[in-house]
């Protein structure tokens, strides 16, 4: 968290597609990230990793979706990133590769936290990380529940927070905040609407 990039508007990294409207805000002012670790990853994965960057002193890399599980395995076994902090997703419905899938890993020995990001299209099934980190189980289930991203090879790919027969994935941007599964609410709660 030491060196914070105070230089504004300097877009070193590729942004998230052009926003509509008269004056789109400048894209994320990320700066390149270079270190011993990025060199190792570069040697090992080459073109599979699209970008190494840092924003507000936090490092992340963007990789091709099929490489992610391999990168996690490498980070855990050879770089000491033994703690999977979180898996989550962000929806950009206007983009061809609709979702950002974000993995956050931490290394106790290095005291370092990095993010692995990947872009996936609707319907793409990323590989599960449960083989690398058993703790990925519930986290991936939550991503499935909220975004409808199915993880290939997951041992128990079910919803986790919402009822199992619920329709729709609420954290998608096209799911309005007042929307709900009318049928489910009617059948299970016996009311016309929860609103």
């Amino acid at each position: 968290m030491a060196e914070e990039d105070k230089g504004q508007q300097k877009a070193a990294a590729g942004g998230h597609g052009a926003a509509k409207g008269p004056a789109p805000p400048p894209p994320m002012a990320a700066t390149p990230w270079e270190s011993e670790l990025t060199r190792q990853l570069q040697d090992r994965f080459g073109e599979q990793i699209l970008e190494f960057a840092s924003y507000r002193g936090q490092e992340f890399l963007v990789a091709r979706p099929e490489a992610v599980v391999g990168i996690l395995q490498f980070l855990r076994d050879e770089a000491g990133f033994d703690y999977l902090v979180d898996i989550t997703a962000v929806d950009y419905p206007d983009r061809a590769e609709r979702f950002d899938l974000v993995y956050i890993v931490y290394s106790f020995s290095r005291n370092q936290r990095i993010r692995i990001k990947t872009r996936i299209a609707e319907g793409y099934q990323p590989g599960t990380a449960t083989g690398v980190y058993p703790g990925a189980n519930w986290l991936e289930r939550e991503v499935f529940d909220m975004f409808g991203i199915e993880f290939a090879g997951h041992p128990d790919m079910r919803r986790i927070l919402l009822p199992e027969d619920w329709e729709g994935h609420p954290l998608r941007k096209d799911y309005s905040i007042i929307r709900q599964d009318e049928r489910w609410v009617k059948e299970n709660l016996g009311i016309e609407s929860g609103q």
Binding site: M1, P24, M28, Y55, F108, P170, L171
Partner: protein
């Protein structure tokens, strides 16, 4: 009687909860049993799901702040601190020193309050009725300070993005010191009741063991990780809000069982008092609010900021698209992640031990389900 009259009943499925006092809210556990031995525990969660992350996308940054208090509602101050720090990082501002000191005092008090509530209810689960009255009595003193400071006792919304809304009240320092002096001997009192108590030890020692490597594999943090011998605490590893200025220890134990987690939490409360005493000694003068715009529009970007909440690593992953509303807020809840290890801990234990194990994880369902 011929054998054929019996079903093949070596496995028994037992449903526990969601309306069960020892599940601390609406947690449902489906236990698979062999006799009284647990051979599998599946959690069914989501009964308290309110879509907090979705709400965040439909509110401005400031408007969402009170919502985070409703996740881990027994440690609302910690939730608020994590969220404020995340948005401050996104805005690239830092709270002024005075605000940081007050934040530390209130957050540590909240850690004690959360641990006290845990201790009382955990003891109640085990069958000891007395401690809950004592711990609630002392927790009251802490909640009174919250109430005097910001008017609320539980869902406090004590902090604002950029610092604090309220100046500390006139006798704040005196109250804080008085409660610190009051708490320490009370901790000894609880320990006299429990630590060497034969029943307490019989119910907790070697129950629900989770080794360090399993903690890491499942992402388990907080007192559970420290009880397994890993000396890791985000307040030391990656200090925030000025924690690097204070002198304190990270209590650890070796065995990683329910009893060790009890000891770790007891020691943590003492360390929290130690931190509060240092922080209250020199609350710096000066402003309580950093320069933040009234209409908050953080530049396009994303940050992940986490703090050591009473239950473990509480993280916020916030994505800004340059507008007044966050594009995405992801909460990384310690309770949710820690609860996942229940199956691992419960296997091989007895049904009665499951109650102790659920208690020892210290979950709050508001945070598990969000």
């Amino acid at each position: 009687m011929p054998d054929s009259t019996f079903l093949d009943a070596t496995e028994l499925v037992l449903n526990m909860g969601p309306q069960h006092p020892s599940t601390h809210g609406v947690l449902r556990v489906i236990l698979k049993l062999d006799g009284e031995k647990v051979i599998g525990a599946e959690c069914v969660i989501g009964y308290l799901h309110r879509g907090v992350e979705k709400i965040a996308e439909n509110r401005t940054y400031q408007m969402f702040a009170p919502y985070v208090d409703r996740m881990d509602y027994v440690a609302a101050v910690s939730n608020g601190l994590g969220y404020c720090l995340a948005v401050e990082k996104l805005l690239d501002v830092e709270a002024p020193p005075k605000a940081q000191a007050v934040r530390v005092i209130l957050t540590e008090f909240n850690r004690i309050a959360s641990h006290l509530l845990w201790l009382g209810t955990h003891a109640l689960d085990i069958g000891a009725i007395t401690p809950v009255f004592y711990t609630f009595r002392e927790r009251e003193e802490i909640l009174n300070i919250f109430e005097k400071y910001c008017g609320a006792r539980l869902t406090t919304h004590a902090f604002r993005i950029g610092g604090l809304q309220y100046e500390i009240y006139e006798d704040f320092e005196r109250d804080v010191k008085r409660v610190c002096d009051l708490l320490l001997p009370k901790f000894d009192e609880y320990e006299e009741l429990l630590t060497e108590n034969r029943i307490w030890k019989a119910r907790l020692v070697n129950v629900g063991i989770l080794r360090a490597e399993d903690c890491k594999a499942y992402g388990v943090t907080g007192p559970l990780l420290r009880a397994a011998g890993v000396k890791w605490d985000l307040r030391k590893a990656q200090p925030y809000s000025g924690y690097e200025k204070y002198d304190f220890e990270i209590p650890t134990r070796e065995n990683g069982d329910t009893y060790d987690r009890y000891i770790v939490r007891m020691q943590e409360m003492r360390q929290s008092v130690r931190i509060i005493r240092q922080a209250v000694e020199g609350i710096p003068e000066g402003p309580i609010m950093a320069k933040v715009p009234k209409v908050m529009k953080p530049p396009v970007g994303e940050v992940y900021v986490s703090i050591e909440a009473p239950k473990g690593e509480l993280g916020y992953y916030v994505v800004s698209d340059g507008s007044t509303q966050p594009y995405r807020v992801r909460v990384r809840p310690p309770s949710f992640v820690n609860l996942q290890a229940l199956d691992k801990m419960a296997r091989g234990a007895l049904v009665a031990d499951v109650v102790a194990i659920i208690g020892t994880i210290d979950i709050v369902l508001g945070e598990v389900d969000r």
